[in-house]
Amino acid sequence: MRYPAIIALLVLPLPAIAQDHDDHLSHHGTLHAMHAWTRASARDGTTYVFVDLENHGAAPVLIHGARSDIAQTGALVGFTLENGEARWVDIPTVPVAPGRELHLEPDALAIRLGGLTQDLHRGDTFDMHLLTGIGELDLHVAVEAAGAAQHSHAGHMH
């Protein structure tokens, strides 16, 4: 009687873990995405979305930008330092080479969501669609703390 109970206790959380796992991963065609995240932000403001991309195909995949129901704009931007001030400049497109990874991360590349239609609090999630040369890749974006530097699951292998 004792063993079935232990097994049940071990197995019961698995669906939740699997759901959590699915939330962190997504793919469209040959393009895979993992750990999409952003920082807590206020309504009407701007936030930057970061995600790890990997192209499993044999041809480059172009990344153009993104769209989301919670923002008016979604542009691909790159970090730069001008006169000692941090700036994000628009990048029309970036290719992910075959078999390569592209990291959208702080102080590098990001998706800038402008004109947020709602507050984003730590622990929230929302959907975003990455606009690519092979179609839209659906991402489930996790909202981290306002000063976060990485996804709370960064380093976890999924």
């Binding site: 790159g78 990874e101 990291h103 590098a108």
Partner: protein, 434 residues
């Protein structure tokens, strides 16, 4: 039109006007219908010693605040400009900060080496327009001797070379501030700073053949030599198969002894980001943007900047309080004249205007003189920092300081209503007897 659509210049002008509005409104209301200038001028002249002292006190305080704020911004810009030529740096895994300080600011550091296969991969990448290996570790006097390629030397100096480029091993291009002349010969020492060994490379003689244009970075004190020279001086292969006699890339991976850093430049902005992702590999290579590392550093130092700004504001507040107290004391000096004015039937508002105007004259003169003192302070500090760091620091007074001054003027002009009001409350008879 949204605020964000307005140009930065007009935003700054609008903010300055906005900050000055309280002062302008106060002045307009207090002086409405009166012209107290002759009387104020006479009071200023009568108490010129005390007035000059107050103006000087305000000017020094404002000048120090403005000078420090401008200097902080100048230093940030100068260090950022020093990293301009280093779009992307690839090294062995380690600390990005250490690697950035070593490559951009030529600070000595122990770093792992990138091997020939990695070099081949970087240099042969389609998106790479310029890849330059850097080899540190030797010096001559206060100058670091850096092995690299001629392409990087040209890139660093924007093609400005006095003399001629190197054409053979044992030739060097010197930075704009290196105290050597073209044609001079020297023997590099092994190591940098206190750990230097002057005799380790005793048989090596390097001749200066050209001088690079001024870049305003620590590289102005560097001596650049073909990387093959550095490798050979250390008894290593020179990057090429024996007998080829080649200088510069392409290097033969089999004879590539290793380089602590490779500077990468790409013509397309997006390519830098892709390259960074591509060459960031666990336990293999580390790719980073020196600009991003500096931005992180500024983020950490941001607290210091806020403390500096707060200190400047506290200083201004203390000076404003001193000035108010001083105005009150000064008003005691001409208490009799004020009482006489009131006894002769001068309206209370006119007397109020005279006292406020006197205070405003001191504050405005002090603020303007302080602005000039701030420009001078920033300039002197910039020269000192440039001389000590070789990072070209220009610290012109900017809109931040103008806004700071506008807020100071508005707040103090509002506060100087208090002494004027207190003077009016004093009995006329006592004033006449004083």
């Amino acid at each position: 039109m949204a605020w964000n659509d307005v140009s930065a210049l007009w935003q700054d002008i609008a903010l300055t006007v906005l900050f000055l509005v309280p002062a302008l409104l106060t002045g307009a209301l207090v002086l409405r219908g009166y012209a107290p200038w002759p009387l104020v001028r006479a009071i200023l002249w009568r108490f010129r010693g005390a007035s000059a002292l107050f103006v000087l006190l305000i000017a020094v305080s404002v000048g120090m605040g403005i000078g420090l704020l401008a200097q902080e911004r100048g230093l940030r810009r100068g260090t950022a400009q020093a990293a301009d030529k280093f779009d992307l740096v690839i090294t062995a895994p380690g600390s990005e900060l250490t690697a950035m300080l070593a490559t951009v600011f030529l600070q000595p550091a122990d770093m792992g080496l990138l091997d020939g296969a990695t070099w081949d991969e970087i240099a042969g990448h389609d998106s790479v327009a310029l890849a330059a290996p850097l080899a540190f570790g030797d010096s001559f006097g206060a100058s670091a001797v850096v092995g690299t390629t001629l392409g990087f030397a040209r890139y660093l100096a924007d093609g400005q070379i006095t003399g001629r480029p190197w054409q053979a091993e044992g030739e060097a291009l010197i930075g704009a501030l290196v105290p050597l002349e073209i044609g001079a010969e020297f023997t590099p020492a092994h190591g940098v700073g206190d750990a230097v060994d002057d005799h380790a490379h005793g048989d090596a003689h390097i001749r200066v053949v050209g001088r690079l244009g001024r870049s305003g970075t620590p590289w102005d004190r560097a001596i650049l030599v073909p990387i093959e020279t550095v490798w050979e001086v250390h008894g290593l292969a020179n990057g090429h198969a024996p007998g080829t006699g080649r200088l510069g890339p392409p290097f033969d991976a089999a004879y590539f002894p290793g380089a602590p850093a490779v500077v990468v430049h790409s013509d397309a902005l997006w390519a830098n980001y892709a390259l960074r992702s591509e060459f960031t590999r666990d336990r293999e290579t580390m790719a980073f943007f020196p600009g991003a590392v500096l931005a992180q550093l500024y983020g950490v130092l941001g607290d210091v900047r806020q403390v500096m700004s707060l200190m400047a504001l506290v200083t201004q507040a203390l000076v404003a309080a001193s000035v108010l107290l001083g105005l009150f004391i000064l008003s005691r000096l001409f208490r009799r004249q004020i009482a006489l004015l009131r006894a002769l039937g001068a309206p209370a508002r006119f007397v109020f205007a005279v006292v406020w105007c006197f205070g405003a004259a001191l504050l405005l003169s002090g603020a303007l003189l302080g602005l000039c003192a701030g420009v001078g302070t920033a300039s002197v500090l910039a020269r000192v920092v440039t001389a000590r760091t070789d990072v070209l620091v220009a610290a012109p007074v900017g809109w931040t300081e103008i806004h700071f001054l506008a807020v100071f003027v508005s707040v103090t002009l509002l506060l100087s209503l208090l002494p004027a009001a207190i003077v009016l409350r004093q009995p006329v008879v006592q004033g006449l007897r004083s």
